[in-house]
Each structure stands twice: as C-alpha cells, then as structure tokens.
Symmetry: C2
Subunit: 243 residues, 2 copies
C-alpha cells in the first residue's frame, strides 16, 4: 500500500532533510513516526528531494509503503500526534505503486524572502534580514536571464555530484510588499545551493555590486569560481511540488 | 541624560518582561546591555509595562538614564550589538527628564492573531493555531461591547493586585486575511491577562459556545469566575505605545 504525504516543516532546528546518524533531520523524524504506524517495522520515507539545514517547506511531498491499509485521515492524525511541533502533515492520499515522490516530479517551486527594512526578531529564522535598500527594478530585469534551459554548474555546490547540471526554469517572479521582497523560481528541478546562489547574485545586482548582464556571463562560465555570496538558508522555502 | 528606546522582541524564549532571578527575561537582557554602555554601572530600564512569557512586542517602549551623553545612533548600534537576536532596538531618542515610559503613556495597542486554517509549523510561536472555523461576524458584533469605560475585573488575573480595574477601550477591530484573524484593542491601559481573556471570550462566541450578549453580562459580573478559556500567549503582540 503506497501513500503520498504533503507536509510542511520549519527547518530552523533541523540538520536538513536527509537522515544523518546522531543528527536531528526531517527524514529521521518522519521515518520514526511512519515506522511506528507500520507495526514498528522500519519503513523508509522518500521525499521529492532534500532541503538543507535551516530551509523550510510549505508543501513538501514524500511517499512510503505500509504493510497494512489504514484510512488516510487516520494516518494524518496518527502521524501528526507522533511528529514534533515543527513538522506537520497536511494531506495523506493512497497512490498507485508506480508513484515516486522523487522520480515522478514534474515541477517544483521555491520562494526566497528578503527583509530590506528594520531587523525583525520574530522573523529571524524565517527571512533573510538584509536590512538595506535593493534596486528591485534591476533585479526584475536580471532574473529573466535565468529563465529557460541552461547548464547551471556555476550556481551548484561542488558537493552536488550529479553529472547533468542542465535544468529548465519555467517561471520567475519578484514581488515587493512593504519591506519584504519575495523571489519565486519554478523549474523542472533544482540542485544543491542553486536557488540560494541565484538569489545571492540577484542581491549583488540589486545592491549595485554587479551588473544585470552578469547573470548571462556567469551562467556561460559553467564553473563555481564566480565568488557569488550565497544567500542564507533561513530565507528559503520549498513551496510546492507538482506531479 | 534620559533616553527613550523603541524596541521589538520575540517573547518565545523569555520568561516574560520583568526581572526574575535566574530566569531569562527581556528586562534582564536590556539592563545588562544598558549597564555595559553606562560604564558598567548598574542601570535600570523602565518599560511601558510588562508582557507575559511568550508574548511578543512589535514596538515596546522603555527609558533609562545614562551618566554620560552618547549620540543616539551609537546607543542603537551599541545595544543591538550587545543584545541577543530576539530583541532589537528600533529607535533611540533623548527625552526630557520628566518622561516616564510607564507613567507618561496615553494609549496602547495590542493585537492578537488566530490561525483558523491548517497548522503552520513556521508560525507555531507567533500565532494561536486554533485550526477550526470561527464565525467572524458574531465576533465583530461582540467586540463592540468591550469599547468604552468599564470595570474589567472579570477579565483580569487574580495576580494583578491593582485596586483600580477601570479602563477605557478606545477602539477595537477584527480583520480576516485568508485564514488569519487579527483582533485589535486600543486602550488607555491593559491589565494582566486582560487581552487574552477578552480574546478567549470572543473565540467562545465565534465557535458558538457563548452568545454575543455574554460580553456585557460578564463585564457586569465583575468577578474572575466566569470560566473563560484564556487565549494562549503566542498569539499576542504589544503593537504600539503612544505618549
């Protein structure tokens, strides 16, 4: 019996998504809870992809297999009673056995939040407290150069060992509400640190340290020596995964 | 030299505002930082009033006296570098010696936030996660009965020993944005647990457990045995203090 779960989490107190011995991770907490429901049998939980320490999820997706059939609403209630307060199951649904949370993804959206106003202590783990003016018009022009199919090697962590660094960004957007800037990226997939490096470059453009044309130039370089200052984890949210 | 500070704090990890030996409080942290600036001389910091553990402030106000004159922007920088990440000084200004953060207040505003939608792990310390429907039209009718000058004994903690429990509520408001309800109270002053008990009663009215007329009835009773379920601290914010 395969189940798909949609869930949110506050990444502040986790060492990222993936199981790491001795460290508190989201996958660890999920697998403990799901295994308990699955008659104490060790059960793996496959997500749509990892997120790093401090990164949040508004609607992350994962799947797992149970040996027994349990009504979906009971799985939701059961998992939410077993999970810590910083992870929450939003939805549970039975899916065909060929559904795979990682390999069946069609599209993903990440958003990044920047506070250009006064430091806000309530939001210190939930937004990048940049605290200075940014030229949003320049950033809006620059972000369009990320759209389309590119080799994103220049924006990917050297820890990401996947051969293929070509991805397609379908849609981008930058909004400003009062003193909060929200940057949106939709793509067929993202690699480690990719969004935070793209945002880092946009911030350097908005602050006047770099030019709009640098987006294209850095993409074409295809190497990670462009010395972009990576944007911090706390501003980043996995917003949605499409199948 | 008397200085007025406007500051914000995340109340989640504090045992309230007031100094308590051995416990982390906002006043403790402020007095440590201010005393350091004041040539290591123990200096008291007087706020507009206390807030309880878990309660936040968007613009709290306090005053203190320094033996030396320091430019206002330097006090702001100095205090923010000394204070922990969950307190932030927004503004510093020199004030006449008869200014008193507590006794000179003219008006205060508190807001209370309720999430009637799905539990949000990112907001677990910053909103009351009620998670069920509330009849906002009933609540809007009910809140008007709090306006004006009343004896608020029925809504005040028995720990509040002040004789005079008469206060004037100048203005109230209830807004709903998506699944977040924000309740606003402006008054000449508030007593311990008063806002959280008023909100508790409004929630009981919105959920159908009590009637709109109960606001007036409970005010007139003038005793704390009305068994209102107090609303939790994490939804409450001191928003502004007027002088």
């Amino acid at each position: 019996m395969r189940y798909k779960i949609t869930f949110s989490y506050d990444g502040s107190n986790f060492h990222g998504y993936q199981v790491q011995p001795g460290l508190r991770t989201i996958q660890n907490e999920l697998e403990k809870a799901v295994s308990y429901l699955n008659r104490q049998e060790k059960t793996s939980v496959q997500s749509s992809g990892r997120t790093d320490g401090g990164v949040h999820a508004i609607e992350q997706v994962a799947h797992f297999d149970l040996n027994i059939e349990i009504p979906e609403y009971k799985i939701k209630l059961g998992l939410n009673s077993l999970l810590p307060q910083d992870i929450h199951i939003i939805n549970v649904s039975k899916v065909p056995n060929d559904f795979h949370a990682r390999f069946s993804t069609k599209k993903k959206e990440y958003i990044y939040k920047i506070n250009i106003g006064e430091y806000n202590p309530m939001m210190r783990n939930y937004i990048y407290q940049y605290g200075k003016e940014l030229d949003i018009e320049k950033m809006k022009k620059a972000i369009h150069f990320f759209e389309g199919t590119h080799d994103f090697t220049s924006f990917v962590s050297s820890e990401d060992k996947r051969e293929d660094k070509i991805r397609t960004i379908y849609k981008t957007n930058i909004k400003k509400q009062k003193e909060i800037i929200t940057i949106v990226f939709q793509a067929d997939g993202f690699m480690k640190y990719q969004v935070r490096n793209m945002v880092g470059l946009l911030i350097e453009i908005g602050s006047g340290k770099r030019k709009i044309q640098d987006v294209e130039k850095i993409i074409l370089k295809k190497n990670r020596n462009s010395s972009i200052k990576i944007a911090p984890a706390e501003g980043l949210y996995l917003r949605k995964v499409w199948y």
